[in-house]
């Protein structure tokens, strides 16, 4: 389904669209305040960008170094070529220990791999412990945002959901009350879990450890209680040295929510006594993107969500309209790069305003990449007819100056008396949200010639 088609449902409710837009703009505004409070913000961005680009140029070395150090610390390291292999590894580890219920903290990678349905089909109870993720999980939905998974849901809807599933009072919609109910429910799950799964924000080659950032402390409880910790990470999450965290931790939370740092930034470097710790290094298409000089910088993304929050299209169309694990500007780059045929419409869900590139803490040139991707999609013949036909027509006209002139003359005449029904109908999607401008008396060419003539007098 194209982005425009999927977005139609969301924007049908204009009140809700406005609410969504404003809620997310509020987060973007907090990001601006946080960024402005750090005088060396631009230096931080360019440093972060350079560290990541350097890492990509030696990724194989850093991966091996990371593995070596992790193993030395008693962490078990696994490698997965794709989603299926990742899921199999997780299930195998759980089966070996006879684990039937697990808790998870936020991980976009496991979303990407479809881990939850896979484990559930194998009879394992999976509980997402991030409140937003738990809400979408209970609604049998996917996150609509990479940092704020339930940003599209209203508190009344959460109230109703919790009333049905957690037995909270009917009609209660106070976030404090609802969060308290979730706290009790989740603590119970955390205390009884057989294993804890986390994502990885940063992995450090030099130390063989990982860092996980949360505000709720759920990754910490989810790893400090159960006897097994499994961490899933994309191979692009590496940074070379511990000290580089001093750059990235300053950028991540400020870019994401405007906080100076997340409430918990946990550094895991060895299993607890009596605990097993596993790290799964997942490729799933990443090594392929690496080869693509035009787009490999998308692998530098630290998943802060700032480009989503600033994007005028994302804010007004909602995350689900992207039909992808990662929505918004960065999603519109990485998804079509991997699978252009499936995601051909995403690079067009963009006004090329450039705001995403402006806020990105690792300076991925997002809007340039989105523009370039349009070319890739056109070249591969993946444009839908509705875009191909007008382009073909425009090419034909612009190639022939006489036809262009004649067309202009005709348009100025015809447009004045054109019945509205001809422009504003179902066959012309362009007319749906637009009014045609008033037709000028004379052509630009004519006006320009007159002006030149007057000047030379």
């Amino acid at each position: 389904m194209s982005h425009a088609t999927a977005a139609r449902e969301f924007i049908a409710d204009s009140q809700r669209t406005k609410w969504h837009d404003e809620t997310i703009w509020f987060v973007r505004h907090k990001r601006d305040l946080a960024a402005a409070s750090v005088p060396e913000w631009e230096l931080l961005r360019s440093t972060a960008s350079a560290i990541k680009r350097h890492t990509l140029s030696r990724l194989d070395e850093y991966l091996e170094q990371f593995e070596q150090n992790a193993i030395r610390h008693g962490i078990k390291v696994h490698w997965a070529r794709d989603a299926a292999e990742h899921n199999e590894i997780v299930l195998k580890l759980l089966k070996e220990k006879g684990v039937t219920n697990i808790v998870k903290s936020k991980s976009m990678l496991t979303e990407e791999c479809g881990l939850n349905p896979y484990l559930e089909a194998a009879g394992i109870e999976v509980v997402d412990t991030d409140l937003g993720e738990r809400i979408v999980q209970m609604r049998k939905e996917h996150p609509s945002h990479i940092v704020l998974p339930a940003i599209h849901i209203k508190k009344e809807e959460v109230g109703e959901l919790f009333h049905e599933q957690l037995g909270t009072e009917a009609g209660a919609a106070d976030p404090n009350y609802l969060t308290e109910a979730a706290r009790n429910h989740l603590r119970d799950k955390l205390l009884n879990a057989g294993a804890g799964l986390t994502g990885v924000n940063f992995a450090i080659a030099e130390t063989g450890g990982i860092v996980v950032c949360t505000n709720e402390g759920n990754a910490d409880l989810g790893t400090a209680l159960p006897p097994i910790h499994i961490a899933s990470m994309g191979i692009e999450k590496l940074i070379p040295r511990l000290e580089h965290l001093g750059v990235f931790l300053r950028l991540l939370a400020r870019s994401a929510t405007g906080q100076p740092i997340t409430a918990y930034s946990s550094h895991f470097h060895r299993p607890r006594e009596g605990q097993e710790m596993h790290i799964i290094l997942v490729d799933n298409g990443r090594s392929g993107i690496l080869a693509d000089e035009d787009f490999n910088r998308s692998l530098n993304c630290i998943r802060c969500g700032a480009c989503l929050n600033t994007c005028p299209v994302y804010r007004r169309s909602g995350g689900h309209s992207y039909h992808a694990t990662v929505p918004g500007p960065i999603g519109s780059v990485i998804n079509p790069v991997r699978d252009p045929a499936k995601f051909e419409s995403l690079p067009f869900a963009c006004s090329l305003c450039g705001s995403c590139s402006e806020v990105c803490p690792v300076k991925i040139p997002l809007h340039h990449q989105l523009y370039a991707l349009r070319g890739v999609i056109a070249e591969r013949g993946l444009l839908p007819l509705s875009k191909r036909a007008p382009l073909w027509f425009a090419t034909a006209v612009f190639r022939r100056p006489w036809l262009y002139r004649a067309g202009g003359r005709m348009a100025r005449m015809v447009l004045r008396c054109l019945p509205r029904a001809l422009v504003y109908n179902r066959l012309n999607p362009w007319g749906r949200q637009r009014e045609l401008p008033v037709v000028p008396e004379q052509s630009f060419r004519r006006a320009y010639a007159d002006r030149q003539a007057k000047r030379s007098k």
């Binding site: 292999e85 937003g132 339930a150 130390t207 001093g246 607890r272 090594s287 080869a291």
Partner: protein, 201 residues
Amino acid sequence: MSSSRKHILQQVKANRAAEFELPSLDQDWQTFGDPLERFCEVLTSTGGNSLRVNDLASANEWFEQRISGNADSQTISLVEGVGRSTLELDQLETPQELSGLDWAILPAEFGVAENGALWVTDINAKHRAVYYLCEHLVLVLPASQVVHNMPQAYERLAGFATDDTPPFGCFIAGPSKTADIEQSLVIGAQGPRSLDVLLIV
């Protein structure tokens, strides 16, 4: 499994991005006139609370007042002289036994002025869950141990995760919180509902 390892590493090597220099971290990073003041300010903005006390005895007095009226609250203290432990962390077999713990009084190693974070480790805490499972967390820190910024913090942490250092460390900034329901900030998600930092001046 090892065939996947080989395959991924081969692919990554063959597809390496263009050479790019590692930048220098030796820069003019943000510092503050009064880092302690700044630390307290930012901590407040994260929902935490700070208090300067002269010594551990006054810290203890503060705590007694804080829990007054709740004589039966469960407490673990790893800071000698502050609070009385009703449970011994070392004696607990499993971290699950910490469930129901009201107060944890624990030492922090240092604080960071730019973001109000405190570095803690599990070096003396047999169950690191104690930081997260308690209802209320109190961290005790010598006021002299506040650095300006994160680059300085990592200078202090150089060597972390080498063989005889703690396996786990965490920057804690404020109590546990969430804004997942309509962006309304709620303090006390899964972790502690409050964070008090006692600065010994």
